[in-house]
Amino acid sequence: MAWAIYISFGGALISALLPKAKPEVARLWALAVAVAGLAIAIAGFAAGMGQGRQVFVDALWVPSMGVHYLLAADGISRVLVLLTGIASVAGVLFSWNIELRTNQFFAFYFALIGGVYGVFLSGDLFLLFVFYEIAIVPKYFLISIWGSTRREYGAMKLALYSFVGSAMVLIGLLAAYSTAGSHSTALGDLAHAGLPVSFQMWCFPLVFVGFAILAGMWPFHTWAPTGHVAAPTAASMLLAGVVMKLGAYGCLRVGIGLFPHGLDPWGFSFIGIGSWRDVFAWLAVIGIVYGALVALAQTDFKFVIGYSSVSHMGFVLLGLMTLNQIGVDGAVLQMFSHGVIAGLLFAIVGRIVYDRTHTRQFAELGPMHLSRRLPFAAWAFVFAGVASMGLPGFSGFVAELQVLVGAWQANPWWAAVSGIGIIVGVAYIWRALQKAFFTDSLPTPHEFESEREHKFAPITWPEYAGVALLGISTLVVGVYPRILLDSIEPAVKALLAGGAQ
């Protein structure tokens, strides 16, 4: 499975070297690389089902510091690598129409994907951090060169926020490394190093917040809407779909895995908050509700989806904070589910609608009568929107249900307030659906004529393929969640048990 990383970076390098004038070559190459990555991910997932943690590579990287080049995967990693594979193929498909500097686009794209694969497969904290940082710079370039609204500002904000987050993680990493005796940076070794509780108490929030910035936790989420809107479609898909999951994964693997006692009660409590667990759970809950409410008020289509990402990631973080089997299961499943669904939503809004209508404002989209002129987009959005709402039969329902059950077991208030978020979630998707696609106004005869003349470009095969890929993924997992849960559950169990030092 480690080959996914190497293929991606190799693909990036070769893509950068491809001739600039021939975008088709770059696209085909990109598709080949992405599909290869997906194939490896699926093969690795299938091969790993039922096995526990598999180690792929373990080489000493810097012996004097005890840094290992350690690639390993347990159930959680396999699921997330699968997600990355799916998202990368979909992203390539939806970038089929990029003409400007195509080879460089895909070079940065695969550099990002390679970094993401690396994070999910790292078994060594230092290696994880390296890959995490590697993923930051391509994002900057992807957004600032090929983005749209306020792209330079959005890109810089994203890059700086991510970097600050990773700086916090680096501090935590160094602190943990030196406190554990400076022997090794392997995750397993650090977890068993017996870090003192007082140390964990301050290191955990530092590292958790560092990762949570990238995961879009309120109130550090402000880069997300701006960044998503500024980014080109494929980059938004990856950002919301996969990159935010890097942050959540880091929270789980590093934060909870290495510093479990950081979540213990402080011994005193302040308005019902008595531990970092309470703090972050409430922040997650606020994020759920806040993201949903703000999404409800947006006038720009893409902003709605951007804020909905903040809201859905809140579920992931809440699930992590429940610290029980079912809640964390739900969090990981939600990572997968939201990754696919958000990718689909951004694809529709960005590639299918915006590239044709050149506007994302509801006020302008409404009169365009898109349900008649772009029926595929309208119905695909119905599908994706319904999945995002958490309708049973799609992956989001099971994930959110598990998180809610877990939250209820931990603290009923968390579940109750999050429920409001779900309800508002229905509302904002509803509103977007109505305003963008299914407005009540019938076209006037004059408009009818002009619309007949200005037909939109037909839907291309890569768009069909991308929508199909993502749609099938969410449907399959929704109808048969065991396909992922069977891998996730043992891994979560091991992680939660291993943390009980």
């Binding site: 390296v130 940082e133 600032s144 810089m156 700086a167």
Partner: protein, 522 residues
């Protein structure tokens, strides 16, 4: 005085001096009528040959060092050797870059031979400093280096900026040399010796008898003098102008070699401070102190050199980090940006010096950082030089659309600047990580943690201004789309530097093991 031993110990310096003289002779004697380009190339080649010879000499000279009587004057092996080899390699790379500026209309000077020989002599001064263990030897080496640097700054006779920068550098440098000498004289007065290890012991004894305020003054003076060399705040005022005004290869030399040499010197001083518990233990009684075994990383002391010096370094470090990064944010000239970032990087390294370890960990980390920073800085100035040559300015806007005008150059710029920002898997990241890990390994209290956190935070800030340049190169539309030509030799060197940054970044053990190889196993 065992002159044979002296000669053997100073073989590298001798090699450089011989090369310098050879360059002058060849250039002035034989090449008067030849085109400037060829003269430059010949001079550079001889200079590089001299560097290679000197490197061989470092390895061949053995690790014995040189002492006059019982005083160690020149050390060898360990940090000294690493620094010397590094200085020589960096000098060679700088000289390679000079080859480009040989064509008549683009050269910054007609005096190629003199330029190369001054470079070599300054490098020799750097070699001396790296090995010096005696105050007077330090001063001689420092002056040799500095004088060379002043001259190099002024080499572009057609540029007013060059002259202005050199004057500023010279005046400032002279003043700080005066400070340094003043401080040295107090140290001599307090301890009765000019050899570093003796000084430390002597000042301890002196301060036990109540001479601490004098020691404090001495240390501050010395910090001022040395701080000037490494461009730490508040002794940095020369740096922006010098980096801006000096010809590109000279600026590269200043940014790399003088930094490595100065930090090697600081390492020597820090080692001397930490060795005194061992010496006291060896010397035995006469002094009451809490017995601590020779391996203690934290000398317990409430008087003397020991607590004051780290505190001074810490202050310099923090101020440099803050000031350097914040000031760089506001720059519109890439050269000045690099200057302020150099101040910031000096701040990071000073942190490693403030929490210096008895084991070789800190020294190795500091050397690693300064060497890799030096290499990256040479590359950066190389790119700036090419762009300046083509567009006539080093402002941010001169870099617009670089990816179209010369994609290789833009790629090199990308790699180098990201390395400076500390992005993995490039060498700059590993250097920072290594350094901060060394700091935390040495002392694990709240203060080091906070300072490391501060350093990392400011590293994050630095990404912003490095990205500004990269943004111009890759993202923003360009006004002028004509291709930028770079001399193939220069481009080759830059690509090699970028490749080294990537390769050594991916496999940091390579360089680290090489450095560790110079130290005897503890």
């Amino acid at each position: 005085m065992n002159y044979a031993a002296l000669f053997r110990a100073t073989l590298p310096e001798t090699a450089l001096e011989i090369a310098a003289l050879l360059v002058l002779v060849v250039d002035l004697g034989f090449l008067r009528k030849v085109a400037l380009q060829i003269r430059t190339a010949v001079a550079a080649v001889i200079g590089i040959a001299g560097c290679i010879a000197a490197v061989w000499a470092v390895y061949a000279a053995g690790w014995t060092g040189f002492s006059a009587g019982s005083d160690l004057l020149l050390a060898a092996g360990g940090s000294a050797a690493v620094a010397q080899v590094a200085i020589l390699v960096l000098t060679a790379v700088t000289l390679l870059q000079v080859v480009d500026s040989g064509s008549a209309e683009s050269s910054f000077t007609r005096n190629a031979g003199e330029y190369v020989s001054v470079v070599l002599m300054a490098a020799a001064g750097g070699l001396i400093i790296s090995a010096a263990q005696d105050l007077l030897v330090i001063f001689v080496g420092l002056e040799l280096l500095s004088l060379g640097l002043y001259i190099l700054t002024a080499f572009n006779k057609q540029s007013g900026k060059s002259a202005e920068a050199a004057i500023k550098y010279y005046l400032f440098g002279a003043m700080s040399a005066a400070f340094l000498l003043f401080g040295f004289s107090y140290l001599y007065g307090l301890s009765g010796s000019t050899s570093l290890p003796e000084i430390v012991l002597g000042t301890y004894l002196a301060s036990a008898r109540g001479g601490t305020p004098l020691l404090l003054i001495a240390l501050v003076m010395i910090a001022a003098g040395l701080g000037f060399k490494i461009a730490a705040f508040p002794f940095h005022l020369w740096a922006p102008d010098t980096y801006e005004g000096a010809p590109a290869p000279a600026a590269a030399f200043i940014a790399s070699v003088s930094k490595v040499a100065s930090f090697a010197l600081l390492i020597s001083i820090s080692y001397a401070i930490l060795r005194w518990p061992a010496m006291l233990h060896l010397k035995g009684g006469g002094v009451t102190f809490t017995a601590s075994p020779a391996g203690t990383p934290q000398p317990p002391a409430t008087v003397g050199f020991v607590p004051t010096w780290p505190m001074i370094l810490m202050d310099l470090s923090v101020l440099s980090m803050i000031f350097g990064n914040l000031a760089a944010l506001a720059q519109s000239s890439v050269r000045r940006l690099l200057a302020y970032s150099a101040i910031a990087h000096a701040g990071y390294i000073l942190l490693g010096l403030a929490f210096f370890s008895w084991t070789n960990v800190s020294a190795q980390a500091i050397l690693y950082y300064s060497v890799t920073y030096g290499l990256t800085a040479i590359g950066a100035f190389g790119v700036v030089g090419v762009v300046e040559h083509a567009t006539g300015s080093d402002k941010l806007d001169a870099f617009l659309g670089l990816h179209k005008r010369n994609p290789l150059l833009a790629a090199v710029l990308l790699v180098l600047f990201l390395s400076l920002a500390g992005i993995p898997p490039l060498i700059g990241f590993w250097a920072k990580f290594n350094l901060f890990a060394a700091v935390l390994r040495t002392s694990g209290g709240a203060l080091p943690f906070t300072l490391v956190a501060l350093a990392i935070a400011f590293s994050a800030v630095s990404l912003y201004y490095y990205l500004q340049v990269l943004k111009r190169a890759y993202v923003m539309p360009s006004t002028d789309e004509s291709p930028i030509r770079a001399h193939p030799a220069t481009l080759g060197v830059l690509i090699a530097i970028a490749a080294a940054v990537v390769v050594f970044g991916c496999f940091p053990a390579l360089l680290q093991n090489w450095i560790a190889g110079f130290y005897p196993s503890m």
